[in-house]
């Protein structure tokens, strides 16, 4: 930690080379592992779909057309049409936004709950640590997807509750990372200095420790995004949360499930592939970010 402190004034004096070296390092990591570059490209594509997708799709995702039901992929309907004649390509693109929003809000929510609880438990120790630890242990005592099912079933069948359930089952992961990181920093030089200059405990926690563990938390966020999307899609696949006719990947796969054994593969395949691609992107991106932030934990 001491070199961290001594490095700080230098970085403050010359911010330009510091950011430049981060840029160089990022370029090096991408060059070293082209897969990370690919993942970043895919991420931009997904973000674009979420942002402008609904405005550029060729068909209305909710408009059914009884004259064109169960059409195989063609030039008019790139991904074919479903039982109600809705255009699957448009539905897959439009669904990106909802899946993306569910994943991002749940991850931000768990970052706020688990991240803060973890930092507090690592920094204060004692009773805070014991209570937070007990809560995470109790969550971990359940198979996580099963707990999410139970929570959504109890709180009510809405998208908000899917977000909450996904956040709760990720809570222990965030606590563990934040706790370990805060624990090694509680006696660090910069924390001592902040304490000596009269900062209150909460100010140290939020103003000094939190910014220092942000890089590692960002990796965690990226790694759990994929899991959050999978979890939300799994819940809507079994009929929780998102309701038809809303386009969402999990529910679209469920809608196509019955048709797959009679040969209409496109209804379930394209939303499923989109889901897979999104999860794959976030997992790769998380691995890449980890290489960037914490090269020692590389596997």
């Amino acid at each position: 930690m001491s070199e961290n402190v001594s490095a700080m004034p230098k970085a403050a004096a010359a911010p330009a080379p510091a950011s430049n070296s981060i840029f160089n390092h990022a370029r090096y990591v991408v060059a070293e592992n082209p897969v990370t570059g690919l993942a970043f490209g895919l991420f931009i594509l997904i973000a674009l779909c979420a942002l402008i997708g609904p405005y550029v799709v060729p068909h209305d995702p909710l408009a059914s057309d009884t004259t064109a039901t169960l059409h195989a992929p063609s030039l008019k309907h790139w991904f074919g049409t479903d039982q109600l004649g809705r255009d699957i390509f448009s539905r897959v693109i439009v669904a990106t936004r909802l899946d993306f929003i569910i994943a991002i809000t749940s991850v931000l929510l768990v970052f706020a709950m688990g991240g803060l609880a973890g930092i507090a438990s690592g920094y204060f120790g004692g009773w805070t640590d014991r209570i937070v630890g007990r809560i995470s242990d109790t969550i971990m005592a359940f198979p996580l997807f099963v707990l999410a099912m139970g929570i959504v079933a109890a709180l009510g069948n809405t998208v908000t509750n899917i977000v909450i359930a996904t956040a709760i089952i990720n809570f222990p992961l965030y606590v563990r990372v934040a706790r370990a990181e805060a624990n090694v920093r509680r006696e660090a030089g910069f924390v001592m200095a902040a304490r000596l200059s009269g900062n209150g405990e909460f100010r140290i926690l939020l103003g000094h420790i939190l910014p220092n563990i942000m890089p590692i938390m960002m990796v965690q966020i990226s790694l759990t995004m994929g899991y959050a999307i999978l979890n939300a899609a799994g819940l809507s696949f079994i009929g929780l949360g998102v309701r038809p006719p809303t386009p969402e990947w999990g529910i679209m796969v469920a809608e196509g499930a019955a048709n797959i054994i009679s040969g209409e593969w496109w209804i379930a395949l394209f939303p499923g592939a989109a889901l897979m691609l999104a999860v794959f992107t976030f997992n790769l991106l998380g691995d890449g970010l980890r290489d960037l932030v914490d090269p020692q934990r590389r596997t």
Partner: protein
Amino acid sequence: MLGMLGKRMVLVIPNLIGVVIVTFLLTRALPGDPAAYFAGPAADKQAVEQIRVKLGLDKPLIVQFGRYVVDLAHGDLGNSLSTGQPVVKEIRNRLPASAELTLFGLILSIVIAVPLGILGAVRQGTWIDHTCRVVATAGVSLPVFFTGLLLAYVFYYLLGWSPSPLGRLDAFTSAPTQITGFYLIDSLATGKFEVFRSALSQLLLPGITLAIFSLAPITRMTRASMLAVLASDFVRTARASGLDTRTVIITYAFRNAMLPVITTLGMVFSFLLGANVLVEKVFAWPGIGSYAVEALITSDFAPVQGFVLTMAILYVALNLLIDILYGVIDPRVRLEG
């Protein structure tokens, strides 16, 4: 050994208490009035009041909790609203189907993942290693319900190798006499090979789906732990003493590398039990997962609660089993206990 066991058992108790509290709170968090909910939509005010008293919902929360625990101790999880049947009975009937599927998937996964992980570590940096890594990353990215559907499409619709992916047996076979509830074992024990063949062919696709899903963590862990062990001093000594590669890898490295892999099994089970629900839904498997899903759709909460509780207790028990196994394999853990 016994001391360690006792100590570990004591550690399980707070977990079980937590599980019971959470499942209790989940029922009380039901939207709206639980009494009105249990009375059904057609009930009038008086009926709702009666149900409230009958369920003890007019009493303080702590009394309600006590009553819930007493019911649990008697093995009472309440009745299903839609069928009127006791939840415990239904879960007990369906549990073997789920257990058979999960264990089959897990064993299949271990049989593939462990050799793959060892190969990846021994031939580090070669195409085998890269395959291993791609399999591991792709496996965690695949939504399990999607893999299941793809397999059903390819092996049932396109190739016609697999029977219709619905249920545990085809329509012309009747279930074997119940001994363990596992069709594969029961049919063999009673010597009905036709039933065994049918059960196996139905089990194969959902089993493979689960195996693909759990392949990733086991492969990854085996590879990482083999790499660490292969770089250690005792392996170098074994090599330097002129032992052949086979002995070094299998007797020396593999046995030590297995310890961390067994620890990850706990996490793998958490994933598997969750994925099981989705796979059961895809393949219309008559297990406890599909029971819970059916109940969810009709907003029938007692089966869902019973299901969550059963799964959690199973999971706690499995983790305990893994710890005991760890103690049996690694004498150092025994000494500490």
